[in-house]
Amino acid sequence: MSDLSPQDAYNFAYLDEQTKRMIRRAILKGIAVPGCQVPFASREMPMPYGWGTGGVQVTAACLVPEDRLKVIDQGADDTTNAVSIRRFFQRTAGVATTGATGEATVIQTRHRIPETPLTEGQILVFQVPIPEPLRFLEPRETETRKMHELEEYGLMHVKLYEDVARHGQIATAYAYPVKVEGRYVMDPSPIPKFDNPKLSGSPAIQLFGAGREQRIYALPPWTGVVSLDFDDHPFETSKAPHDCDLCGAKDSYLDEVITDDQGGRMFVCSDTDYCAGRRARGMKGRLWAPEPEGAA
């Protein structure tokens, strides 16, 4: 026993088989009832709540040794959360990892949907902090459950009404509520509303895991998802009105980067893989300057 390295002492993908079985049952139920929040017995994970414990458990339950895993955090593959979760599964499951959206079979994501269109056979796992879209309007869980059960979603529009009354438009920019197949109102996790249209009719399976709140919900492939709105204030996506300064993309979601204390700024794709892919194909933005050979 003593020659086992710590990694080998764990079951494949960290969780024991009974736990994975329990999570898979919740996932299957979620897929059978799109948008419905299914409770599951969330486990303690070796990371703090808020760092993707729900997403990690869903990913662990989905992974098989042949999978190729991609982990993104706010669109980037190289931020702390993404790096640590990717390394976690490299060590506990030994699966291959990738940064390329097209090559991945399982993608765990925090707050973004990749720009590159997903394909059939891929699984997109979202990390969800608060799965209940009605939470900030109705604090009682017993009452929100009843509202989902009886399809009483008028309250969701009260939130949008407040937005328009206060800001003249629907100011909700992320975690924008959606209705799934005309039935459940769902929180799409804090993705920007720019990504909302990508939820609908996606060929990939989309799974949502909330660890602290112990809920899993799902969108099976080709599910219709509609963003809520008013007849006279229709849903609109929004992004910074610029092109990417590195790759010149006009159609991707942008992050604003402050470059100095003189008001200098640049806009870059939040999806690093998409941006790098475009640059590799020779597309250039306003500020792109290739690093000189041997600089690193």
């Binding site: 008028g154 529009h157 009260v158 009404y161 009354a165 007849d231 006279d232």
Partner: protein, 261 residues
């Protein structure tokens, strides 16, 4: 035909209650209550604290389960109804005005949003129309249109109560339950609220069940009166008749206990 004539033309009771009983373990909440409520009629329920008035009201409104008895609304059995249907009634045909406006309002949502909620709950999806209707209803309960985006927490107690009434009446309900609507308000605000309620009830032809311990309120508003004591109805009849010529010993006590100014 005016509203009152339309109301008079129907001779079917809107709400029919038979032998309604609610027990809290061995104790009685309310026992064996029966009455009919006709369209356009205002029924007052009076009695001392703990006499079962509020229990009766919440059983009728479906907030609590009754143990025995039958309640039929417009020919439909309310107690046997599926919860979906009862809650739909609760936000279309029925309205419930709480004693404390904080129970009936969403304090974190603007006045306009509070009034619009019931509209959106029954499917209104046009912002301009919802807002127009909200402003219209704020006007009807004498709240200035420029307060439409203020939160109820910025309102006085009387305004909060009026807002609660607007929020409840916006979907044109036919039956309104009121639990001490003037409780906790000072007398001049009470008088204005009563005046407003009387106008709305008459103009809209509402049927109202109003629970109160204030005999002046029922004298002004109610057509008929039910007196409760220890969970049972001890006397009922026309309001003026009951108040001017009380028969039951408890009613006599109640009427003679009112302070004269």
């Amino acid at each position: 035909m005016t509203v009152m004539e339309k109301v008079a033309a129907t001779d079917q009771p809107l709400l029919k209650v038979e032998g309604l009983t609610r027990r809290y373990g061995p104790r009685i909440g309310c026992a064996d209550v029966s009455f009919d409520l006709y369209p356009g009629e205002v029924l007052g329920i009076v009695g001392e604290s703990g006499s079962g008035k509020s229990t009766l009201l919440s059983c009728l409104a479906g907030h609590q389960r009754a143990d025995l008895g039958r309640v039929s609304y417009d020919g439909r059995d309310v107690l046997a109804m599926a919860e979906t249907e009862r809650r739909r009634l609760g936000r279309t045909d029925w309205a419930y005005v709480h004693q404390n406006p904080r129970d009936g309002l969403r304090m974190g949502v603007s006045a306009g949003g509070n009034v619009g909620e019931r509209l959106m709950a029954v499917g209104a999806r046009h912002y301009g129309q919802i807002r127009g209707k909200a402003v219209d209803w704020l006007g009807r309960v004498e709240i200035a249109a420029d307060r439409v985006d203020d939160r109820p927490s910025a309102f006085s107690g009387g305004m909060q109560q009026r807002l609660q009434i607007a929020r409840n009446l916006v979907t044109s309900p036919r039956l309104v339950f009121m639990d001490e609507p003037t409780g906790g308000l000072d007398v001049s605000v009470q008088a204005r609220l009563l005046d407003l309620l009387r106008g709305l009830v008459r103009d809209l032809g509402l049927s109202v069940i109003i629970v109160t311990h204030d005999l002046a309120v029922v004298r002004l508003l109610a057509h008929r009166l039910m007196v409760m004591k220890s969970g049972r109805v001890v006397e009922q009849g026309l309001t003026d008749q009951v108040l001017d010529d009380p028969q039951h010993a408890y009613t006599q006590l109640l009427v003679s206990s009112v302070l004269q100014v």
